[in-house]
Amino acid sequence: MFSRKLIALVGAAAVMAAACSSGSTPSPSAAASGGGGEDCVVGVSWNNFQQPRWAATDEPGIKDTVEAAGGKYISADANLVNEQQLTDVDSLISQGAKVLILLAQDQNAILPAVQKAKDAGIPVIAYDRLIEDTSVLYLTFDNVAVGKAQAAALFEKVPTGNYVLIKGDPGDPNASTFLPQGWDDAGLKDKVASGDITILNGPDGTFTDAWKTEKAQSNMEAIIDKANADGNKIDAILAENDSTALGVVAALTAKNYGFPPLSGQDGDPANLNNVALGKQYVDVWKNSLELGKAAGQAALQLCAGTAIADLSITVDPSVQPPTGAAPTDFTTPGSNVVKAFILQPTPVTADTLNLPIDAGWYATKDDICKGVDPATGPAACK
């Protein structure tokens, strides 16, 4: 049953991708690179293909773009093991890959493989996760912008009041640095300084070990109890991602607290369903279909001999980087400067639930609209 569903999903995604590429914009870059596409073998090394996202959205994005131009797609799954990934890259190279797309299990452990590719003159695309090497093209979503979009959406809805901050795993730089930086970019720090916003759970908020839903739930229950004991009302909750937001909703339900505006990130089916049900206000969604397409385009152009700096990548306007179609310089935490193409995330609220549905996201309309009354629910569920 599971596989049938997966096939349906992949099928839907493929249809969407085909519809997109045959639609209004036959994208000049794809046409241009089509010439060199015939003998282009694109090798993809996944670190963990078990996560549903990769099979459902990223792979079809890459595969369809490459195959539409006549190229060949080959791949391997490292199953979360660093050594396996090194072996995988070797075998992709020996199978004749002209370009490598690597989703690195570890940004440093992958370096020997990158060196091997460099020696063989094969360009490398660091997909979704950074590789600390100046020769790679880094393709990802802007994580700081995710935080900014979360906070901006909530500030528009609740400009002043009591906020609760629910963060992810304290060891993850996304949780401790990038997303909070985005919140501050949106004005959290200034609003706290000016007194418009009070943070109920300490200046830094509450971290959630391993982004665990159960942990987020028990933390949130304690926060609600504390707020009640102090006579404070919670007006909005900034949660960094969807697994923690799910725990927050469970705590709010258990306490019959009602549902103050709540943020999330990932576009998980259960959370988009909560958006439709009015239990979560905004879910910042990274449309990884487009990330896959961008990787496919970049791979085709690199095959044709285009230099990384001269690439021209066309993606849906909703995720297009503000810097344009060419990669830009990005300074890594390891102080390397790499060329990067950084897509913008899309905030999804009840009013814009049609975006993921129309894009062929792996959360289907049935998932998203489960239990929603079509008469009173959001427009996307009618």
Partner: protein, 441 residues
């Protein structure tokens, strides 16, 4: 001094010391000093947090939250006592909770309506799901128990394998995504205002508990007389009865001081036509939440199994001296297998509480439960040397650990800080216990 009570709270074998010191008086009441000490420790922890928070901590609603949060781990800890007493360990409980929680979620959102033809209106879906989950737990526990008891693979290895592989199965079941939307009836297992038994039933339960304490005391006295065992002095019997009753009634009153949130009460009142809102709003006591009642039931049944049934005696006998137990003709393998079946069933109950609380299941439900459960059992006085451990102790241990986690969370201490404290308390608790035992022997 407490060794007899350790091995099992078996009554009727204690020679009352004739001393008249305070220690002698306490000994005459036959109160389990270890349990009493843990209750005291729990009280000190709660009191400390109450002082630190300026009196905001020790409120009915907070304590009910704490109890609900502790109930899942406490339920499994009652079984872990028997497993550790019989010189085994079960590391697979967290994964088993995860897979059963996911099974509940899939049953109610997918398999029942789409495969089994039981639509949302099918009667007693929650009970059927619960039954299937308990069956699955017993099956997996039994399989592990069989490999441990009959094939002889060490339990550490078998259940470590279970920890890894069962967690993997969760992924295959769910294909990696969270599942939500359980039956409203099933959600009640998770507690909350509507998931509680209400004020009246709470009082009735308290009175029944009170009556049971008195009857047990009277019956115990009669039995001891019959077999010419020494009996407690009358003052000690009366004291125990009064204290026990008072404690039960106080807990019930405290739980009943937790009221329905006003918004919810107003909503339900409007829906069910309760008439005009009384002055000061609706004051509906929630009483004991269902997970607490479940925990109470599980604790009583497990304590009964451990101390009053042959099975329990065998477990303690095997833990105390496996060879002697074997030579005495006890079917030790069958006994060990049964402890793991019991574990599986308890995991299914804990999974029901966890998934009902979440209104669904995620990939990580139950993760690292094995650590909390083992910690609770050990803090509750269970010894890894085997043969020693008590079920109420483990439940108290779970409450001690959770009260720290909840209290620190309440005070705004982040999870790394909580882990530091939990780890230190674990070592201190066992350290004290070890010292006590050494002095006692």
């Amino acid at each position: 001094m407490t060794n007899v009570a350790d091995a099992a709270p078996a009554s009727g074998q204690v020679q009352p010391p004739a001393r008249t010191s305070i220690r002698g008086l306490i000994a005459q009441t036959e109160i389990d000093l270890r349990l009493f000490g843990m209750l005291l420790a729990l009280g000190v922890i709660l009191l400390t947090f109450n002082i630190l928070s300026g009196g905001k901590f020790f409120q009915p609603t907070n304590m009910v939250t704490l109890a609900v949060q502790a109930s899942g781990v406490a339920v499994i800890a009652t079984g872990m006592v028997l497993v550790i007493v019989s010189r085994n360990i079960d590391l697979s409980v967290g994964s088993l909770v995860g897979v059963i929680a996911m099974t509940y979620a899939l049953l109610m959102t997918d398999w029942m309506p789409n495969v089994l033809g039981m639509g949302p209106d099918f009667p007693f879906r929650w009970l059927i799901a619960l039954g299937l989950g308990i069956g699955l737990g017993a099956l997996v526990g039994g399989l592990q128990g069989f490999i441990i008891a009959y094939i002889g693979v060490p339990s550490f290895i078998v259940t470590l394998g279970g920890l890894l592989s069962i967690r993997g199965v969760v992924w295959y079941l769910s294909s990696g995504a969270a599942r939500s939307g359980l039956d409203p009836d099933f959600q009640l297992i998770g507690g909350g205002a509507q998931g509680s038994i209400g004020g009246t039933l709470t009082w009735i339960l308290a009175l029944v508990g009170c009556l049971a304490i008195v009857l047990l005391l009277i019956n115990g006295r009669r039995q001891r007389r019959r077999f010419d065992f020494p009996v407690r002095p009358v003052w000690a019997e009366v004291l125990l009865g009064v204290l026990g009753c008072a404690a039960v009634v106080a807990v019930a009153a405290f739980a009943n001081a937790n009221l329905w949130p006003e918004g919810l009460a107003a909503r339900i009142a409007a829906r069910d036509n309760w008439g005009p809102t009384p002055e000061g709003g609706w004051q509906i006591p929630t009483g004991f939440p269902y997970p607490m009642v479940l925990l109470l039931g599980v604790t009583l049944v497990m304590a009964w199994l451990a101390t009053r049934r042959r099975f329990g005696r065998y477990v303690y006998a095997y833990g105390g001296n496996p060879d002697a137990a074997e030579l005495a003709g006890i079917n030790t393998r069958w006994t060990i297998l049964k402890t793991f079946v019991l574990m599986g069933i308890l995991c299914a109950i804990a999974a029901a509480i966890a998934s009902a609380r979440l209104n669904g299941a995620t990939l990580d439900v139950g993760q690292s439960y094995e650590l909390y459960v083992i910690a609770a059992a050990v803090v509750g006085g269970t010894s890894f040397a085997g043969g020693i451990g008590s079920i109420p102790g483990a439940v108290l241990g779970a409450f001690v650990m959770q009260s720290l986690a909840y209290g620190l969370s309440f005070m705004g201490v982040n999870s790394p800080g909580q882990n530091v404290v939990a780890g230190i308390v674990l070592i201190i608790a066992v350290g004290f216990d070890t010292l006590n035992r050494r002095r006692g022997s």
